[in-house]
Symmetry: D2
Subunit: 336 residues, 4 copies
């Protein structure tokens, strides 16, 4: 059960509510986000919601049968809107485009990418400065210095930044230079990282784990939300299966299911979802048709020279065509 408390609740009233819920043998968690105060009750006993709901200090109460509570649409029907400032939002009924290279490689690459985005009226740039790599001998990214250079150029151009954070110690270090923290597929269940991102007042995009379930993704979002940060997005990026004709298996079903289960925006990553350059476009368009609120993909002036993921990266001509088509598909979807 989720109990939303009134903003000015008296301490005594809160204690009474907690006592009442404990009497039902429910385990209680006190959640204070940047937007409100909640009590989350976990238990199985059935009870009459009115017995609790009438108590002083309660703004709203919901019974949520899902394992995740605060990210469930059973509680909050109204879709979450992520506001990045400057009139840039990510939300249901919109289609956010986030494009850029797999790895940030240097000033010139940043500048050329920004030019490409501006020409196509794209407001959010993706790129990695901390790169999780299977092998310790691979390129691991330019780190904080690369981020600073990127930030300077992006701010001048009015472009927002989404980039991956890999560990707790980077959160503060990166804070000034990012608009969205991305949690990568290898960190979806890095619970300490999730806890700490709950304390930050910047949006967080959580990628589904490499073989994560839809429920696990929602529970990971619940970590961030219950630790205090409601500015959350979910990202489907393909799952690991036996099929090796593609890098991953894009779980198109997950997009439609996540939209039904949660009030959070859902972003699709077709670059990782299929992992083959020539197929990124049809998969991206399919994801929009399935209900995605945004698309994140990889583009580079010269994919064949990219430091990483070149095989799934679009060049700027392909990227421009994709942007054009995505907008048409989105327009049709919203009109039907």
């Amino acid at each position: 059960m989720i109990i939303q408390l009134e903003k000015e609740i008296a301490e005594k009233d809160k204690e009474n509510i907690i006592k009442k819920v404990r009497d039902l043998k429910y385990k209680i968690t006190d959640v204070r986000t940047q937007k409100g105060d909640y009590l989350i009750g976990i238990g199985k006993k059935e009870f009459d919601i009115r017995d609790v709901g009438h108590m002083p200090g309660i703004a709203d109460i919901h019974i949520v049968s899902d394992d995740y509570k605060l990210v469930s649409k059973k509680w909050k029907v109204k879709p979450t809107v992520i506001d990045l400032g400057d009139g840039i939002t990510i939300e249901k009924g919109g289609m956010a485009i986030m494009a850029g290279p797999c790895s940030i490689e240097g000033e010139e690459q940043i500048r050329k990418t920004i030019d490409h985005l501006r020409e196509n009226d794209v407001k959010i740039m993706r790129g990695g400065v901390y790169k999780p790599r299977s092998s310790p001998y691979s390129f691991r990214g330019l780190g904080i210095d690369g981020l600073k250079v990127w930030y300077k150029a992006a701010r001048e151009a009015g472009i927002k930044i989404i980039t991956e954070v890999m560990q707790v110690s980077q959160i503060e270090e990166m804070y000034e230079y990012v608009d969205i923290y991305q949690v990568g597929a290898r960190n979806t269940q890095n619970f300490n990282l999730l806890d700490e991102l709950g304390l930050v007042d910047k949006p967080v995009l959580i990628k589904r784990g490499i073989s994560g379930t839809i429920d696990e993704l929602l529970s990971s979002a619940e970590y961030v939300f219950s630790a205090g940060n409601e500015n959350l997005m979910l990202c489907e990026r393909g799952i690991r299966t036996y099929e090796k004709a593609s890098r991953n298996t894009m779980d198109i079903n997950a997009i439609s299911i996540l939209k039904e289960k949660s009030h959070l925006p859902v972003i699709a990553d077709p670059s990782h979802g299929i992992g083959i350059r020539d197929h990124v476009e049809p998969i991206a368009l399919a994801c929009i048709m399935a209900g995605a609120d945004g698309v994140i993909y990889e583009t580079h002036e010269k994919p064949e020279e990219a430091y990483s993921d070149g095989q799934q990266t679009l060049d700027f001509r392909e990227s421009a065509r994709l942007i054009h088509k995505m907008r048409k598909v989105f327009e049709l979807r919203e009109s039907m």
Copy 2:
């Protein structure tokens, strides 16, 4: 290597070609389809294609590095067109709709479904009379008698029939009453069935195996083709993965990849691909955007009363809306 022989090739010339190919240490298979004669050479040695290609009696020669040969686009660039007669075709650049119940249940159900299809200008009806069921105690279908009743009603209405064939002995029995033989996901690698369907002069739709790879699907198609039947379609219907929030994981990637690898039409089955009624529509639309040449899905007047698969079956109102939207999405795709 695929050698297409001239129609009136002299026996002597053919022998010479075979000898030449054997000298290259290639294993040779003589393939005679309803449309042409081919020699398929399997081997690894590199050779100068001109050494063979100039020989008398050869209409065309191709080196095909895929394990499957005749279904590969490396050999036949021109897309295959399935002609069902009466102006009804399944082909690239079209969008075939095949709709109907999971199981054929009786005359009234057939009639109502046909009425629904006609109202929405759908020309092909799906339905099962032989049902593969995990448990021997489940409903196994009305069999050949059900098919005959269905056939009569469909012919009068100008509707074509696609239905599953489960074993060799049914092929002949069903022959007069079907327009497309469907090979189900549990029979994708029933090689005897594939061999025999190669001898039939009616189209065949092959579903991908429950955990079949894309390559295995193409190799199964190769069985039918090399046994003589070029009238083939491939069908993506979701694969089995660890994710249990949906019945299967619709492999949207496979649609795009199959279109690249093969000249055969690719049909999507969103009903089995996600298995949840409320999500069939977005997945169907996504599949069209990913490049599908047609969609096969389940509809029933009263899904909750259907003998099987009710949880993933659309009612007629939902079905009509889906058909309307699919046509819009298809139109946009072709216009971009």
Copy 3:
């Protein structure tokens, strides 16, 4: 529910029982095997078993909550014993060894394999004469003629034969020459084949599907059993997963779980389970320790020259060592 009927039940009594069960809204299936008569009731309503159990003509009655009934240990606690004649049995508390080549290749190979088996006191020889192959251009086996040659040599040597049957029409053809029909992993859900094998009075070994669940394997066995044949074995041969370091992922868990759920003997196939020659031995020994009642594996005088599966086939020296070790491990298991 499973109702075992008395052997000499009066028709009137049977009708009364059927009526009683139908009144409970249970769907009823009349099962007549080579060993007994049963009524299988499928339904959900709870009822007092004594209300049915006291009726005349009932030998025994059990409520079985599993989807499969007759193969469940909840009904039949006593393990099934497969008797191949000549004192050769497959059963709990024994360890059947079935060894031989992937494909039967000819008389000399047969003779050498038989010599090897006799030297090591192995009584059952495996080998394929009908080979299911992904590609139509691969070697598909010697067919019935190969089987006849094999049979002659095996009978003279007192060796039993297990070999794969791929389609209904082969059952009768092969009947005289096989001791165990093997259903391969691509045919686990070939329900027509299973139905027909239920009519045969020879033992059947059913391999788990390539990505089949444990429950599906048991339901496939239920097909054969309910069609009349109780002489059944189950075989774990590895499943398809994302891991490509081995050909399949041997599901060692399945061996222990199948032994708990069913009264049928469980055989392990380490050759397909891992697919790498050097690792067949440790996996075979592990399977015995996990509870397998037998092991089926591939051996060939010269694996590198085998027509198929050479990479996972033991030579005779390795095979002899494995047999020796398997017996030691089995002995320890039974003694603990």
Copy 4:
């Protein structure tokens, strides 16, 4: 390529070697572990190993084609021995037993578990004080205070401690109180954590990721090794597959394959591998037969009252029986 440098190498000689390797277009990484100095060269160009090997300052040189280098058996044939002090080692040819509860719950539970271990001559106790949980509302462990209590009791009893570390900041905090750091399945690719564990002079056990490949596990070990810590063990704990009859699918193949590929000890975790109490014993015994150098499993005085994982936890009677049997199986394995 791996170049092991002489202990007292002259700076000039090292520079020459680096220059030589760079000339081959190999990317070079300077690795200094607690036991030695290495240069790891990553590249594809073929070269004559003698051209490099003769240079002054080189103790040994190996070409290793695997993606992982330092953990590969192609380089270091001699098995790694983990020495925990007090005569307790983990190594090939031994069988380490690590037993204890899923979660450390308090002093009494610790004491009882230690008594149980001592009665059965087990020297290493497992238990979690930091618990990674899918839901933020689940019990997350007693933390560092729990560890301190545990440590005190364990030291008095001569028992070693293995426990999970979840994030970088815990490494130092836990240092004094652990004998083996465990990296859990959700952190196998937490590369920052791996890097930092490379700087510690205590042994590390790395669990395979929830759907991690064998190669990824080895690459994760390469992270720790190349960051400086050679005291490493690998742990197979089951993988996520479509099969839901067991919690995970124990990949018995991986045990045999890891033993072949790496010189590191391989530990099996049957508790997570199957996740069902009644089946832990046969799976544990099977893992030993497949070649495991040790087993880690869950035991609790009253599994049904355990804070977590009760369904897969053995009680002390079952645990004692398992220990007894494991030793017999190990003895047989080593004697064959």
